[in-house]
């Protein structure tokens, strides 16, 4: 039992990080914390790959005078895969943060329940919010043809 734990402890950490990350994404109210949870989740996956690439007694996968036997080197392919995945993750993080900047500018808060409430229109509509929306979405007449921020989609809840 103990040998099993000692030889596989990294996978337990991976599992813990996956759980923590998923908890962050699903249970946290703050949007930035959700994003951080996502990063933790992705990092756990990277650690899993790196752990799986390890070779007992292997060294860095650069060909040297030890020879060409693959058992002497760590498997380089997962490292490449994870480099790609990290770059993708950074891209996603960048887009996520950019979206958060827009959400913050529009609603002044990064709390999910506050933003959801404002979007559902249960907050009193303030003119600031509508001016912001009007200037940020220069739509050529596709939303409100008569420029009045009324109930245009008939769901009883303010501008679409």
């Amino acid at each position: 039992m103990i040998e099993l734990f000692l030889s596989r402890y990294v996978y337990l950490f991976v599992l813990a990080l996956l759980a923590i990350g998923l908890y962050g994404v699903l249970a946290k109210q703050d949007l930035v914390k959700k994003l951080i949870g996502l990063v933790i989740f992705s990092t756990a996956i990277y650690i899993f790959y790196i752990e799986g690439s390890l070779q007992e007694g292997g060294t860095a996968p650069v060909l040297d005078e030890r020879g060409t036997d693959p058992a002497l080197y760590v498997d380089p392919l997962p490292h490449l895969l994870i480099l790609t995945a990290i770059v993708v993750g950074v891209g996603v993080l960048g887009v996520g943060l950019a979206l958060l900047v827009r959400i913050y500018r529009a609603h002044g808060s990064l709390d999910e329940s506050v933003v959801a409430e404002r979007l559902a229109g249960r907050f009193p509509t303030d003119t600031e919010l509508e001016d912001d929306q009007a200037e940020r979405n220069p739509v050529a007449g596709a939303d409100t043809p008569d420029d009045a921020p009324g109930d245009t989609d008939g769901d009883g809840r303010g501008p679409a």
Binding site: L77, V88, A106, N137, A142, P145, A160
Partner: protein
């Protein structure tokens, strides 16, 4: 080694870069680039489809590195079929007027068409990839483009895009984790190679774990119930052109990956018997998606949200078809991929036309639109009747094959639910029909409305014509392309 497998992708990729650069010079030029790129891709994919149907699968090794060392691009009838759909819908959305399609009149330097072309590149890459990790990279490429495109829908779109980002990345992460399990068990990432190795290690828990993770990750991308929660918000709050692209082709990439990996990489050893009850799960969750999606669609007052929930239901059909795992059911699922792409994009483009002329999105206020916009509404009628499943339009045939497939294995529950859900679909479209064709115009916005521009009517009619043609030539399509393909994959 033919170059045809990579050709459908290249115009889209280079078109994306070119659209970005050319929009710095003149913003309208980007749309021209998009139209050219998607047309070129369509030409290549149709050529590819005809060639592989007659001659068999073609492969192309990126960089000249042979598999399993290098990344392989595979063009077989399934990929060519899907890539043609992507290119065609991409072309339709590119032709659509930009302010209505994307809710924004792009200024100089705004990469709206570049993002759309990147989305199409990612989708095409997913469908052509012969390597599991390359599929992940392409999956992420199109997902990131989608996050950007959905956020064009204003504040609600931005929030929906953020939520979709969270869930979508979790889904891709699960898929990546699954590939990790498979790689460490088999030592390869190439699909064909892995298909040769996998049957021998069917009792390995890590392989089964990989299968489970991959199925869940892809089911999330495909918006299969209960992992569909990101879809209604993302599709209803995005601009009509974006929603057309998303509903028509983006979720189908997830379905395609599932079909490819389940049937070609894992094969019959893994489906159902020992190991994981993947087929049963897909059937039951698919049926649940059909019922939940249809019922929730009935409750919606906003037309885009109704169409979004309808998409959840239609994806349930595709899930059921994949789960049944018989040739006829798979034919039904693939046919539904094509039909739903045509029907749903036509419906979203019609919604765009309505929004352009009246700004209305609420169904109760649509009264009398048929009299003011007869041409557009004719296209709507064809698409809606096809969705309900009226023969001889295309939508009927996909449900027909699904039911045949279900009856073939004796799964009567599926057959009954598919039939009953067509009635549910009829309910929510009947409301629209009544509003549009039977009632008189009640709102001033409707009474003064005119027919939307010629490009909107043109694209809607092209899609409607495609629906009619596909319906008429289904037998040819199934006999020559989909039938043999399904036989090879499942039989």
């Amino acid at each position: 080694m033919s170059q045809l497998p990579i050709l459908p992708l290249l115009p889209l990729l280079f078109g994306a870069v070119l659209a970005m650069l050319i929009s710095l010079w003149r913003a309208e030029a980007a749309q021209v680039v998009a139209i050219l790129a998607t047309s070129l891709s369509l030409v290549f994919s149709v050529t590819g489809l005809i060639r592989v149907v007659n001659e068999g699968r073609l492969t192309y090794d990126l960089g000249g590195w042979p598999p399993p060392v290098g990344i392989e691009y595979v063009l077989d009838p399934l990929s060519a079929f899907m890539v043609t759909i992507v290119a065609f819908i991409g072309l339709m959305v590119s032709l659509y007027p930009v302010e209505v399609a994307f809710d924004i009149r792009p200024g100089r330097g705004m990469p709206v068409y570049a993002l759309a072309l990147l989305l199409l590149t990612g989708l095409t890459g997913v469908m052509l990839s012969g390597d599991l990790f390359h599929l992940f990279v392409m999956l992420e490429i199109y997902a990131i483009s989608t996050y950007g495109l959905v956020s064009l829908g204003g504040d609600r779109g931005t929030f929906a895009a953020f939520r979709y980002l969270l869930l979508g990345t979790v889904g891709s992460g699960l898929y990546l984790l699954g590939i990790g399990f498979l790689y460490f068990s088999t030592g390869t990432l190439n699909m064909a190679d892995m298909a040769a190795i996998l049957p021998g290690i069917a009792d390995s828990p890590s392989v089964l774990g990989g299968l489970g993770l991959i199925v869940i990750g892809l089911a999330l991308k495909m918006a299969l119930f209960p992992l569909h929660i990101w879809l209604p918000d993302a599709h209803s709050f995005s601009p009509p052109g974006v929603a057309a692209l998303l509903a028509a082709v983006q979720v189908k990439a997830g379905a395609y990956s599932l079909i490819r990996i389940l049937f070609d990489v894992f094969g019959p050893t893994y489906l159902g018997a020992e190991g994981l009850p993947v087929s049963t799960a897909l059937i039951w969750f698919g049926l649940a998606g059909v019922v939940v999606g249809s019922v929730l669609a009935i409750r919606q007052r906003d037309i885009k949200r109704m169409l979004a929930y309808s998409t959840v239901a239609q994806l349930g059909y595709i899930g059921v078809g994949i789960g049944l795992a018989t040739p006829l059911a798979l034919v039904g699922a693939l046919l539904h991929v094509l039909n739903h792409a045509l029907m749903k994009s036509a419906l979203f483009l019609v919604a765009g036309g309505i929004i352009q002329r009246t700004g209305l999105k609420a169904i109760p206020r649509f009264a009398g639109l048929g009299k003011r916009m007869p041409l557009t509404m004719f296209g709507f009628a064809i698409a809606a009747l096809s969705m309900v499943g009226i023969p001889p339009l295309a939508g009927f045939w996909s449900k027909f094959y699904l039911v045949l497939g279900a009856v073939e294995v004796g799964n009567w529950v599926v057959a009954v639910v598919i039939g009953a859900s067509s009635l549910l679909t009829l309910v929510y479209f009947l409301r629209l029909f009544e509003q549009i064709f039977v009632r008189e115009p009640e709102e001033a916005l409707v009474a003064e409305a005119t027919e939307p521009g010629s490009r909107i009517v043109g694209t809607v009619w092209t899609l409607a014509a495609a629906i009619v043609l596909v319906g008429a030539f289904t037998v040819v399509l199934v006999g020559d392309v989909l039938g043999p393909l399904a036989e090879r994959m499942v039989g």
